[in-house]
């Protein structure tokens, strides 16, 4: 009798589907869990240690804590914005000014850590604590969208402390890697 492969194929397709859903869930789980692990690294950083790696094989470390109490946002900002680091938290974009000393750019994933950006309105405030324990308050001035294929971030050179939060856009796009970026600019209060 000819073997009927159909049930096996159906199970295989279903398994593939489940695997995909699990992969998606894993990304979210990792994003959440990493932040929990980084919390203790941050405590040690505030106590004076430098470059505290949240887990032994990590190649990044927290440099700041971004909080927005009313929106339930509490994020540890990592030292770089490479793809590896962004899976675990928002990252500081190398080459931009240090926090509190000009135009700082922080980048995060639009569907995990920086998903809250879509709800921000000009006038909203957030606080950033740096490794020296100092806390600065920033107020959102404006938001806009740029196309990274032919537009660059434009900075006013002379403003003292500005935080630019950067994430992908649109927030609900299914495929990653699009050229649009959502830019939220906050000045020091």
């Amino acid at each position: 009798m000819k073997r009927n492969w159909t049930p096996i194929a159906i199970v295989a397709v279903a398994a593939l589907g489940l695997w995909q859903v699990a992969s998606g869930a894993y990304i979210h789980a990792k994003a959440w869990l990493a932040q929990e692990l980084i919390a203790s690294a941050w405590t040690r950083t505030l106590e004076g240690e430098r470059e505290v790696k949240p887990w032994p094989w990590a190649d990044t470390w927290p440099i700041a804590r971004l909080q927005m109490i009313d929106k339930d946002v509490d994020l540890y900002v990592l030292a770089d914005a490479s793809g590896r680091s962004l899976a675990f938290g928002p990252g500081y974009v190398n080459g931009t000014a240090a926090i509190g000393d000009g135009n700082t750019v922080l980048a995060g994933h639009r569907d995990t850590h920086f998903a809250f950006l879509r709800d921000l309105q000009p006038g909203d405030e957030f606080a950033i604590q740096t490794a020296d324990g100092r806390e600065r308050r920033f107020q959102l001035n404006e938001t806009h969208v740029i196309d990274s294929r032919h537009q660059r971030l434009q900075f006013d050179e002379n403003v003292d402390a500005t935080i630019t939060l950067l994430t992908c856009y649109p927030f609900d796009a299914i495929t990653p890697g699009g050229p649009l970026r959502y830019v939220a600019v906050a000045g020091i209060k």
């Binding site: 995909q20 859903v21 770089d80 899976a87 080459g95 240090a98 990274s148 002379n158 950067l166 020091i188």
Partner: protein, 698 residues
Amino acid sequence: MQRNNKQRQPRFRAKAEHSFAALFCLWILLAVAPITQAQTVEQEIGSGSLTVRDDQGRAIDAPRMETAVRMKVSGIVARVEVSQRFHNESDAWVEGVYAFPLPEHSAVDTLRMKIGERIVVGEIREKEQAQKIFEQARQQGQRASVVHQQRPNLFRTAVANIGPGETIEIVIGYLQIVDQDAGRYSLRFPLTITPRYIPGVDVNTEARLTSETPIAALTLAVPGDDTATLGDLQPRLAHAHPQRQSVSMEIDIDAGAPMEHITSPYHPILVDATERGAQIKLRNQQSPPDRDFELSWAPVVKSEPAIALFREPTDQGEHVLLMFMPPQESRPINTPREVIFVIDTSGSMSGESINQARAALMNGLRTLQPADRFTVIQFNSVHEALFDEPVSASEENLSRAQRYVRNLHATGGTEMLPALLTALSMPESREHLRQVIFITDAAVGNEDQLMLAIRQQLGSARLFTVGIGSAPNGHFLRNAARTGRGTFTYIGSIDEVESKMTALLNKLTSPVLTDIELNWPAGVVPEYAPASIGDLYAGEPIVVTARLQSPAKGTLSISGRTNGTWTRQISLNGMQPRTGVASLWARNRIGDLMDSRANGATDDSIRGSVLPLALQYQLVSNYTSLVAVDRTPARPDGESLHSRRIPNTKPNGLDWPAEGVPSTATPAQLNFAIGALLLLAALGWQLRERRLQRRQPQ
């Protein structure tokens, strides 16, 4: 009964399955719908440029700055004046702070401040004292300026109390020896700074920098370095904007004979050739300072022996500058080579630089002979070797290496030290000549650590540095090559890769000139700077400065060894006097003393010998600065002074922010969508199967 049951059960199951299917459809609709919604939102927000306002809605601009460079080249010495004009276009009193690079080994000896018609000449002072004088003047509302050296090739000026609408010009002067290689002369002028990476330093803990910051607070966690400031090594960058910052160049070359092949690979120039040389200026005298300037030329007649000998007697003694082109050996060496390519794939290399680096590396791979051995190491925040130790340059290994190189991307930090140590500690073979070829922009701040590693770990290897990009750290690359007994090659654009790498290959495969000795007439005790001449490669001249106790007469004999030994006699009687020779000697001597830190000299002993030398010869150094104060008070009491840092122009071709715009979306949504579709497909298929099965019995 049985039949009934059989029919009923599937029907029930089908019902349940239908509702699942409906749920999945709904889920997918939910997942897809926001995309269309988002696209309309985007149109509402629109895309545009970013404007940032300060709290009062009023921004005080940094002064606009024009740089004018005037060079006067006579023979092999260049006298350069860099004028920086600070225009204050705001209605407040401002101070301009500007960090800028100068060529390595430039002897900075002049500062003039021009306010309208008046000129105030700067004086050399011990660094702390200069800063104190400057700050005092600054507080009293007097116009003042100061020039500090931050790194051997990085300087910082501050100009205080520029009135509303006022322009203050400062002129910085220095001397430099013209480079000579394979019969061509060249001059480089760096115009901007590539942000440097400093291992172990957290940018975000560093305090802000203004001219008020006390010198002691400008320290940085780089061992033995007390002058670097993070603000200068991680400069704020501005996009090239000719209205804010521009540069012009005027170069007057007196070669004593007609010149040819005058080229400027990175800037269009206008050349006015004369009988004795040429006058050159930039075609666009308002060029953005976003890439280094380079000019090279050759004398029309090359047959005469290339010797240049100059003297300058001062109170400190007789100073001599000698340049001599040794006889060239044309036979190539036959020893097989063992080449370790080390390539920088850090974030600062992103953009045009990594393309150049890849092309240079590909070119280097092509030059390997079957008997040679090689490997490739790349580094950014971590490093990785293609082969753990050098392998034979077989076709298979080479094609693997080419694939590897094609896939190199620039991202992350610049942890150069571990990569360098890995390269230098690879097991050496006796039958091969070990050559390390280091391709990087050297955007690093821990130069001293790296130099120490090279000095200690080099063994019998030779280190060749290849500088890449619009503004590499030339001082470090040149010094590393000298310490590594190799050469420094600068590649500024992709078009040059071929010619520069061919010239490098010529050096790699030609015999090295060693054991260079100078024999002075009896009774003459020379103090050389640099203290040792080192080995030379094909086409490189011997360049020596020396201080003698008394003028020398008679003949100087120079000897060296390539395949055989040779000796040349040079008469000292016809030496031409030339101002600047003493300063050049002192600058080289200071360079040697600063480098002695790597051999274990303490900071105190270095300071003890450099400080008097720099004060005597009136040079800016690690411990001395130039300060100029206009005693007339300018700023009225009660008007406050605003300090503004002038951003450096982003090096051309550097993606900025350094890593480009990061990708900021995860594939989670896509995973969910694909997963949902697959589950739905499986479900639909299952339903169809059931329906077919039900039909079959009838």
